[in-house]
């Protein structure tokens, strides 16, 4: 991903009010981590497991810091029980920043990634988690802001799925 896109993602998160990010690093969007780290308005927490990231961000969210979880698409599978029970059943707003690996426009797609990529959206839909797909930087900041508004409005997780230009 171009450095400028990484900066725009982080700037969009900040403008939308996100100030807490838990994350398990992955390849495609990893350029956002140093940008997040350099900005003192974010508290960032590296974790060992995406289910853990969901629970830590849920705590931060209910404590008053609008929170996100950054993860690879595989993390939605790993964190799905916590997304269901904390995100949906308890009703905790949080933003999911997801590298949509294995999607059609994933520049790094291969037999390794395609299967989990294909099933990611059905998983989100089965959890009734709203999502927006990003393949380029058009209206990036506006869309992020809309997703954050939505997560506050419904008090549920909302997912940003990044593919296309974000996966180069």
């Amino acid at each position: 991903m171009e450095a400028q896109l990484a900066k725009r993602i982080v700037g969009g998160l900040k403008d939308a009010g996100i100030s807490f990010v838990s994350y398990l690093p992955e390849t495609r969007l990893s350029e956002i981590v140093p940008v997040l780290r350099e900005d003192p308005s974010f508290m960032i927490v590296p974790v060992a497991n995406e289910a853990e990231a969901v629970s830590i961000s849920a705590g931060a969210s209910l404590g008053g810091r609008p929170a996100a979880v950054y993860m690879e698409g595989s993390g939605v599978y790993v964190g799905s029980f916590n997304l269901l029970c904390l995100g949906r059943r308890l009703g905790v707003p949080m933003l999911l920043i997801v590298a949509h690996y294995g999607s059609v426009l994933d520049a790094r797609n291969s037999f390794v990634y395609a299967m989990p990529g294909i099933h990611l959206i059905p998983i989100l839909e089965s959890l009734d988690i709203q999502y927006v797909i990003f393949t380029n930087g058009d209206n990036l900041e506006t869309k992020i802001k809309g997703c954050v508004k939505m997560m506050h409005a419904i008090k549920q997780p909302v997912a940003l799925l990044f593919s296309g230009e974000f996966t180069i």
Partner: protein, 199 residues
């Protein structure tokens, strides 16, 4: 040592602390003994410690207490390396370890009935103040320290297998109502808006 007795000792000390609880009989027992609005009893295994970490990180001036069980912690051991590295000083974790998965129809041993030592696991992850207590006096001593000191503490409380919680009436408050009560309490005591959005 009985979990209910441990809770009875802890409840009178609750003032402005935030208490996270997981599932099982301890949720029923704690909710029965304490109606404090700073309770957040989330009714899921494997997530209370993570939520407690998140809360403690963003509210460093508040004591956060996590009530876990052996089964719930075993389901989420990934929290321990994270917690050891973060070393959150305002967090106190109590693991009520009855060495069994205990439901209304089952009583199956957990790993802690065998070779697993949760306090040793925690210490190996960098949680220095991790200890195991096996009697009520030791528990009271460790709990008092945990409540009064600003140091990350992790107390594994070896308790008897009990079924007393089955006699306690279940709460009628659902999880959304419970969450709103907690969030409104935090908004009031922290003096800030938590839930965003225009009405």
């Amino acid at each position: 040592m009985n979990r209910y007795d441990c809770f009875e000792f802890l409840v009178p000390s609750m003032t402005d602390q935030l208490v996270l609880g997981s599932l099982s009989g301890q949720r029923v027992e704690w909710g029965h003994l304490s109606g404090h609005p700073g309770n957040l009893l989330i009714a899921i295994m494997g997530a209370a410690l993570g939520m407690g970490i998140g809360l403690a990180l963003i509210l460093p001036h508040r004591k956060v207490i996590v009530l876990e069980s052996d089964g719930s912690l075993l389901l989420s051991l990934y929290n321990l390396p994270t917690l050891g590295n973060l070393n959150v000083p305002n967090l106190s974790v109590f693991v009520f370890d009855n060495e069994v998965y205990s439901g209304t129809r089952i009583s199956e041993p957990s790993a802690t009935s065998g070779k697993t030592d949760l306090a040793a696991v925690a210490r190996s992850c960098g949680i220095e103040r991790a200890t195991t207590v096996r009697d009520l006096d030791s528990y009271k001593r460790e709990a008092t320290k945990a409540l009064n000191e600003n140091v990350l503490s992790f107390v594994v409380c070896k308790v008897e297998k009990t079924t007393g919680h089955r006699q306690i009436p279940r709460p009628t408050e659902d999880l959304w109502e419970h969450k709103y009560k907690f969030v409104r309490y935090l908004e009031k005591t922290e003096g800030k808006q938590i839930f965003m959005g225009r009405g």
